[in-house]
């Protein structure tokens, strides 16, 4: 695949799928303020994915609605972390923390991309992601230093989620060209920055970051290999859209 398309699909699909998952917190948050916060982040992420799908459309791919609402599992390039069900708040919070730290660093780097339309989008997106990270850090620090119950839950969620989070950095065949053409700094450098970034926050809590070298990343997402959770999500997302494919909704 063309390196630009390869990169854009991964970015856009991550944002779309996690945005969709975040929106599922409506009515279910531990406090109303968290329903609202997750909804805000979901709206941002959906907006980010739309901008990225529009870049893809400019490069000759189908309309954003068609791309988002009509593909099936093997055609998605999101990492598996994003597609897991929301679970309980501890998991969703840790996923949000691990993903958005990577995402902020990613879009900060993309602001200097040699592909100018992407750099322009990234400059706007990174400003919004800053608040997602602020939100995640606030809660991780608070719950990660609170009751024994909270710390135990957060630690378990962290250990469960980390192998999936490492899947964020799975590379494709296009990686060497993505780096050499200046499109993006590459996943390995991003992961290095991410580890530094999450370590700093976790150091301010009672949580322990396991040795990441000992973990096996859950990969495959970038190649269209997904968990059993993605297709039901896509079916639900397209449920109305597919009722009348000729309609303008």
């Amino acid at each position: 695949m063309d390196p630009k398309l390869d990169l854009l699909y991964r970015l856009a699909d991550d944002q779309l799928i996690l945005g969709h998952r975040n929106s599922e917190w409506n009515g279910l948050g531990p406090i109303l303020e968290e329903d609202i916060a997750f909804s805000s982040m979901a709206q941002d992420k959906l907006g980010h994915s739309l901008q990225l799908y529009m870049l893809l459309h400019e490069l000759g791919e189908a309309e954003p609605d068609t791309v988002a609402f009509t593909r099936n599992t093997p055609q998605f390039h999101c990492c598996q972390l994003t597609e897991l069900p929301i679970g309980e708040y501890d998991f969703s919070l840790i996923r949000h923390f691990l993903f958005d730290h990577a995402e902020l660093l990613r879009f900060e780097a993309l602001a200097d991309s040699s592909y100018e339309p992407l750099a322009l989008v990234a400059r706007k997106v990174k400003g919004e992601l800053k608040y997602h990270v602020l939100h995640a850090n606030t809660w991780v620090k608070r719950l990660g230093t609170a009751t024994e119950e909270a710390i135990t839950r957060m630690q378990a969620a962290l250990e469960f989620t980390l192998p999936y989070a490492l899947g964020i950095f799975e590379t494709t065949e296009a990686e060497p060209e993505i780096i050499s053409s200046g499109l993006f700094i590459g996943e390995m450098e991003l992961q290095r920055r991410w580890e530094e970034s999450i370590s700093k926050v976790l150091a301010q809590t009672a949580l322990t970051l396991p040795d990441l070298r000992l973990l096996t990343p859950v990969s495959g997402g970038r190649y269209g290999q997904h968990t059993e959770h993605l297709q039901p999500l896509l079916d639900e997302m397209a449920e109305v859209f597919r009722l009348d494919p000729t309609a303008d909704w």
């Binding site: 969709h20 929106s23 599922e24 409506n26 009515g27 279910l28 948050g29 531990p30 406090i31 109303l32 303020e33 968290e34 329903d35 609202i36 909804s39 805000s40 979901a42 709206q43 959906l46 907006g47 739309l50 954003p64 609605d65 988002a68 609402f69 309980e88 708040y89 608070r142 719950l143 609170a146 009751t147 119950e149 909270a150 839950r153 999500l233 639900e236 997302m237 449920e239 109305v240 859209f241 009722l243 009348d244 000729t246 309609a247 303008d248 909704w249």
Partner: protein, 329 residues
């Protein structure tokens, strides 16, 4: 959305308790309200006023979070980016309204935790319309337009009421509701003028929702005769029937204009400008409000699960030395 501020259990003996109030303070309180002054949290107020307002604001707040459930279901199914983002923002507003309203109710002395606990234990009510199902995207559009429209009729009236914190919350809520109305109207018109499948979906959804919409403002005034003191205290600003008439006058023409029909052969405006309609099934209304509707159990179960699953977070957030402070506005 979503509150039909017609409280569902107006006391059958509205004067109970007044005999224990200081007559001088009571007279002063009533004079202030008559002059159009706002009552603030630290001001003297009769127990009945406090109780009734707490119940009303609390029910309104509950209606916002329970109402966000049937519409929220359609966030993950909304067709296309534009609808998905708008639906999300709209429902998020409703949860924000709940947040505002719980704060307003807290100024009267009841904590949010107590209110939510009463909600999941069935002690306090929410707008009865949310005990009905929303099986299609079009049902969600009907709620966004017509339930929100009904709520605006109610809330615009109540924003002129006597209790300061509630009025200020309602002013902010109404400003957002005005957008919801445009959103809902746009969605309904879009479907009603779309493909045959879309038009059919919309007509069926409207047929399903119409009986519930007709009960939205609460029982006929003929049936609830105890609202006089609440009107005098500006807790309730318009009667149920007046609100219903205003709603019909504003929205039935708009519904007919886009080629949709309403499932009531008797619905028409008479020569005096009064809308006539088939009397809603108030026995069914009572049955549903008392817990036996198609979705009561499901709505409460979802809310209860949210409360239970999130309890550890709230426990962790509590500071051992912190004391509960009632908000002032």
């Amino acid at each position: 959305m979503y509150g039909s501020a017609s409280t569902h259990d107006i006391p059958t003996q509205a004067t109970t308790g007044l005999e224990n109030e200081d007559p001088i303070l009571l007279a002063e309180f009533e004079a202030r309200i008559a002059r159009g002054e706002k009552i603030e949290p630290t001001d003297w107020m009769p127990q009945l006023y406090r109780k009734q307002l707490t119940r009303m604001i609390e029910q309104h707040a509950h209606s916002e979070i329970i109402g966000s459930l049937p519409e929220g279901t359609w966030i993950t199914r909304a067709p296309g980016f534009r609808r998905k983002m708008a639906q999300m923002a709209k429902v998020q507003d409703e949860v924000g309204h709940a947040q505002l309203l719980y704060s307003a109710a807290e100024t009267l002395g009841k904590t949010r935790e107590q209110m939510l606990s009463d909600l999941v234990n069935g002690k306090s009510k929410y707008s009865n319309v949310f005990n009905y199902p929303t099986p299609t995207w079009a049902d969600s559009n009907v709620i966004s337009w017509l339930i929100d429209a009904g709520a605006i009729v109610n809330q615009m009236a109540n924003a002129k009421g006597s209790y300061g914190p509630y009025c200020r919350a309602l002013d902010r809520i109404c400003a957002e509701e005005a957008f919801h109305l445009k959103y809902g109207h746009d969605a309904v018109v879009h479907m009603a003028t779309g493909t045959p499948i879309q038009r059919k979906m919309m007509q069926e959804a409207l047929n399903r929702w119409w009986p519930a919409i007709m009960t939205f403002f609460g029982p006929s005034d003929k049936m609830s005769t105890h609202t006089e003191i609440l009107m005098r205290w500006k807790v309730k600003m318009a009667t149920n029937d007046a609100c219903r008439q205003q709603f019909l006058d504003m929205y039935v023409p708009k519904i007919w204009e886009i080629g949709l029909t309403l499932p009531d052969a008797n619905l028409r405006k008479n020569e005096d400008g009064v809308w006539e309609f088939s009397e809603p099934d108030w026995e069914d209304f009572k049955r549903v409000i008392n817990g036996d509707g198609p979705c009561n159990a499901e709505r409460i179960a979802v809310r209860r699960a949210a409360e239970e699953n999130g309890a550890w977070v709230r426990r962790a957030m509590q500071q051992p030395k912190a004391q509960y402070v009632r908000p002032l506005a």
